[in-house]
Symmetry: C2
Subunit: 220 residues, 2 copies
DNA sequence: CGACACCTTGAAGAGGTTCAAGAAATGTGG
DNA sequence: CCACATTTCTTGAACCTCTTCAAGGTGTCG
C-alpha cells in the first residue's frame, strides 16, 4: 500500500479487508465461471492461476506470492475467467470490490494504487508474451528462475536459494514447454554449473551466467 | 462508454477528451521510455503495440482498432513500456490520465468503466498466453483470423471479408511464429478451401471449419 | 520503368515433443 | 515403522513441427 497517508485515510483503507480466508493446498480460491465479488491480497503462501479450456488443456498464467493481488480478471464481466489454486496452505485478505471502488473515490492514493496494480499486471503479461513468443527453452527457464528469486529476495528470502512450490508440469505449462523439456533444461543448467537442482530445491550458483543467457539471445 | 448517464455526468465525461491527434501510418503514438500522461481512444484506424528488447527483438503484443483504448501500460511507472505504431493513417482522442482519475471520483459509471477496460485487457492477454503457450501454428492463425473478423463485424464490417493492415512478419511476431510459417499456413488454409488469400485481402469461406480447428485441439 | 518491400515456396536443419522406461521421493495403510 | 502404491522427476531415442536459408514472384511507389 502507498505511503504518506493521513490517519483517516488509513482507517478507510483498513475497512477494505472484510475477512480473511485460509485456503488449503490444492484447493481453489476462485474458479472459472464463479461470480466475481472481491479482490484478494495474499497474506502468506503461493498460488497459481490457470485457464482451462473445453478440450482439457491447461495454461498456467502466473504464480503469485505474498503481497500480490488476485482476481483482477473478474472485473470485466463480473465472472472469474481463471482458476486460482493454492500451491501450499495459504491465507488471503478478502477485499470486496464495490468497497474498493467506494473508498477509491474518497482516497486518491488508493484510487491511483488500484490503477497501478492493474497496469502492473498488464505489463507483467506483456513480458510473458515476449517470453512465450520469442524465447527458446533455456531463456524461458532462466527468465523464470531470475524472476522468482528476485521476487523472493524482495520479500527477504535468499538471493540464491529457493524451493519451487510448483511441479515441472506447472512450470512447463507457464513457459509453454513440456515437463520433460523443463526437466532437461534444469539438468543442462546443472551440468553447466549454473544452478544446483535437487528436485524442487534450487540453488543458483552463477546468476550472471543466467542473466547473460537471457540477454545473449542476439546470437540466434 | 456506458449508457444511462445523466446529462451532467455526460458533460463531465466530455471534458475527458482534451485534444485529438492524427497519427500518420508508420509513426508512433507513444514509445517505450516516453513519459506517460494520457490514455488514447482510437477514433479511426489501426495500430499495433509492440515491445522492443535491447537485443533488437520485437514482440507485437496486440493490434488495436477503432474504439479501443491504448496506453494502459504506462500507468504503473509513469512511463510507457511499449510502442504504439499506426498501421494506417489514424486519429485518436487524447484523455489525460489525471483528468480521468479526477472525473472517475465523481462519476461512478466512469470509474467502473475504467476498471472494466483494464480488466478486459488482462483477460485478453490471458487468451494470448494460452495461444502462445499451447497452440500449434494452424490454431494460432485460426484464432487470429476469427478474433479479427469478430471485432470488425462488431464495428459493422463484413463477417467474411477483411483486409489485413499488418504484414506477415507482424502477424508472426504476434503469434510467436516466423513470417514464412504464417505464409505457409495461409496457403494451407487456402488449399483446404477454408479461406481465400490474396496477399492482405482475406475472404473467409468456411468459418465453421476455422472454429473447429481451434476446438479440435484435443486430437493432439 | 525500375527499385524496393513484401509475400510465397522449397529443402535442409534444429529444437522441442512424444513415447517409454526407470529412479527417487512421498504418502498410505496394515 | 515398514512395505507398497503413487506421484513426480529424469533420461533416452525417434519423430515432428517449425525455423532457417535461399530463390523467385508479385505488387507498389517514386
Amino acid at each position: 500500500m502507498p505511503a504518506g497517508l493521513s490517519p483517516t485515510e488509513l482507517n478507510r483503507i483498513d475497512e477494505l479487508v472484510t475477512t480473511r480466508r485460509k485456503i488449503k493446498q490444492g484447493t481453489t480460491l476462485f474458479s472459472n465461471g464463479e461470480k466475481f465479488t472481491s479482490l484478494y491480497a495474499i497474506r502468506s503462501g503461493f498460488f497459481k492461476t490457470c485457464l482451462t479450456t473445453t478440450d482439457g488443456r491447461e495454461q498456467v498464467t502466473g504464480f503469485q506470492m505474498t503481497g500480490e493481488i488476485m482476481g483482477l480478471d473478474g472485473i470485466v464481466n463480473d465472472l472469474h475467467t481463471c482458476n486460482a489454486i493454492a500451491l501450499e496452505d495459504t491465507e488471503v485478505c478478502v477485499m470486496p470490490f464495490d468497497r474498493i471502488e467506494e473508498i477509491s473515490r474518497e482516497v486518491n492514493a488508493l484510487q491511483h494504487h488500484v490503477h497501478k496494480i492493474m497496469s502492473r499486471e498488464i505489463v507483467r503479461e506483456h513480458g510473458v508474451m515476449l517470453l512465450l513468443g520469442s524465447m527458446r527453452a533455456e531463456e524461458r527457464l532462466a527468465v523464470f528462475l531470475l524472476n522468482l528469486v528476485q521476487r523472493l529476495h524482495a520479500r527477504g528470502f535468499s538471493k540464491s536459494q529457493l524451493i519451487l512450490r510448483m511441479s515441472r508440469e506447472e512450470i512447463g505449462s507457464f513457459l509453454g514447454l513440456k515437463l520433460e523439456t523443463v526437466s532437461r533444461t534444469f539438468s543442462k543448467f546443472s551440468d553447466d554449473g549454473m544452478v544446483e537442482v535437487k528436485r524442487r530445491n534450487i540453488r543458483i550458483l552463477d546468476i550472471e551466467a543466467l542473466k547473460l543467457m537471457v540477454n545473449a539471445s542476439s546470437c540466434h
